[in-house]
Symmetry: C2
Subunit: 380 residues, 2 copies
Amino acid sequence: MKHPFLMTPGPSPLAPEVKQALSKDIIHHRTAEFRSILKEVHSGLKYVFQTQNPVLVLSSSGTGAMEAAVANLLSRNDKILVVVGGKFGQRWQEICQSYSLNVVSWEIEWGSSPSVIELENLLDKHSDIKAVFTTLCETSTATVYDIEATAKVCRQRDILLIVDAISGLGSDVLKTDEWGVDVVVAGSQKGLMLPPGLSFISLSPKAQAALETSNFPHYYFDLKKALKSYAKDDTPYTASVSLVIALREALKLIKNEGIEKRWEDFSRIGEALRRALETLGFGIFSRSPSASVTAGEVKSMDASLIIKKMASDFGITIAGGQAELKGKIIRIAHMGYINASDVLTCLAALEEVVQSLGKNIERGKSLKTFQEAYCVQNSN
Amino acid sequence: MKHPFLMTPGPSPLAPEVKQALSKDIIHHRTAEFRSILKEVHSGLKYVFQTQNPVLVLSSSGTGAMEAAVANLLSRNDKILVVVGGKFGQRWQEICQSYSLNVVSWEIEWGSSPSVIELENLLDKHSDIKAVFTTLCETSTATVYDIEATAKVCRQRDILLIVDAISGLGSDVLKTDEWGVDVVVAGSQKGLMLPPGLSFISLSPKAQAALETSNFPHYYFDLKKALKSYAKDDTPYTASVSLVIALREALKLIKNEGIEKRWEDFSRIGEALRRALETLGFGIFSRSPSASVTAGEVKSMDASLIIKKMASDFGITIAGGQAELKGKIIRIAHMGYINASDVLTCLAALEEVVQSLGKNIERGKSLKTFQEAYCVQNSN
């Protein structure tokens, strides 16, 4: 009997506590009971975001929160810089272009992290840049960006820093306040072990001040209104009640384990997985690998066939490459409810799939490598 | 033991099949499996909306779909008419004002349905009106509007008609195509027996043509992009997978019972409830009562105390009045998964509550009245 299992970088498997919460009877959103749940959720989100800033809960996919950032913080023709090193940098670019911002697109090599020196040069050249849009984990290339260094540069120049942490939150290290990140956007269906449908946005005092000057039309994603409701542990429009109640459970799980412990664990899993993939003949695509997802270059192997066979023969869904990386990589997520045992199971299946594609594999070798790398790190 | 039960006009109780679906493991949204579910959902929504037009599924509350209509169909300074006879007419007004439309606000008496003759006069006076925004069931006053007549007038003048059916869909009669309604907006948490988190929008060919000329900035609620995805039974951004899968179950339930049968049943429940409320000393607020929700005028009784005691003594949550109706009415929903037995239970509790507030009530009288009115109608 196959146990279908999602190892894609979103949606990611639901925690059992989440599934249980989702199947409960609905309650009304304008009640003391729901406000007390939202209060817990707001506090739990601050912990996961590592911030004392408000973290607003929106009912939308992560893209909705990305648009909310653009539509509420800037105005037509404002000059902004977008780091474009994959599909999600392109999404920032597209949203900013939809709003007729003056977009400086900084195209970096896919799989690399943006260089701080180049960033400084760009900001010197364009001294009127108001905001930098970037990504914590560029999921499409399984690459983590150095947000700490980016934040330092932006702070020095009083430029707003807006970070898409949709896939990275909870697994890649993110210290919003310590690093000085103004705005962090996230979604429910990755590190938070929930179905898609909620998005989140944190706003520093500088970002809150920027809300006052933006003049784009908006209503549903009105962050000034959302901030007012937030102060009363409420939402301006009907909240996605069931998802919020389930989120409370997920946040408890993360708090109980500890965010630092989770960052370390996912980082170890990623490191061990990379070594294991190499024993199977894969290359490692990213030069700044994320702790949330790993991209293996398939080289001469057929990526789509690997993905297909992983699903059909073992019930494990992994992801392929997107856009220019289609056919060139496979992507295995390690975020949210996925743990080291799941990755081990995935590797066992992958050994068989690679073998079935005609490659001569020493059975168990990738497992041994993973086991050694993960456990040695763990015991250090 | 109290059985907590929601009789508010949204959120409304979840069908058991919906709760079961919500607790399932998540699946990936870019798969043949999910596309086939979306295909069923698209077809089921067309049935409930009574249309052959596409019905798009958005991840947001109903307000998001309302904004999507404004942001995608019109342009700055376009003149539009908004029917304002309650809180949700005011919401159209606010959204249209946020987008700097040239808003003609038609304030009608709360609890009344807009007059067709006045509508014609207004459209004569403002011959450059491009669209009319109105409401199927104005939930705040429990009033159903004559959308059929409104549509006839709009069609004659080639004016876009955009209807908020968020609380009315599934209980108040709505024949989108037969009446010629261009755009219908709805939400998941009322007649569709789901938690909040999904919204829907149907687009006639005329509305689809209007998408081409609108020039507001938008991205997440880009209906042109959503239509392209719809054609492939897909969504532009990550769908709220769990809610969509649960929606399939709810749509099956409605299809199996038949939408006409449901319209009739909720209409009978409403009629019987109104007669029963009168025996308890309530007035009937609306002069055009909706089949989705009933508003009882409390007259000399204390509305907030009634609502409070219904919850504390019997576990039944009913709603009060909003804005200018606060303290003046109670509202009892009959939509979605609420049936005649639930309303009977609600009346039994209400008899006790009214009695406890010092009113001399003949026990069982409202129940007898409801039983007679509902069953006589049913047997006709």
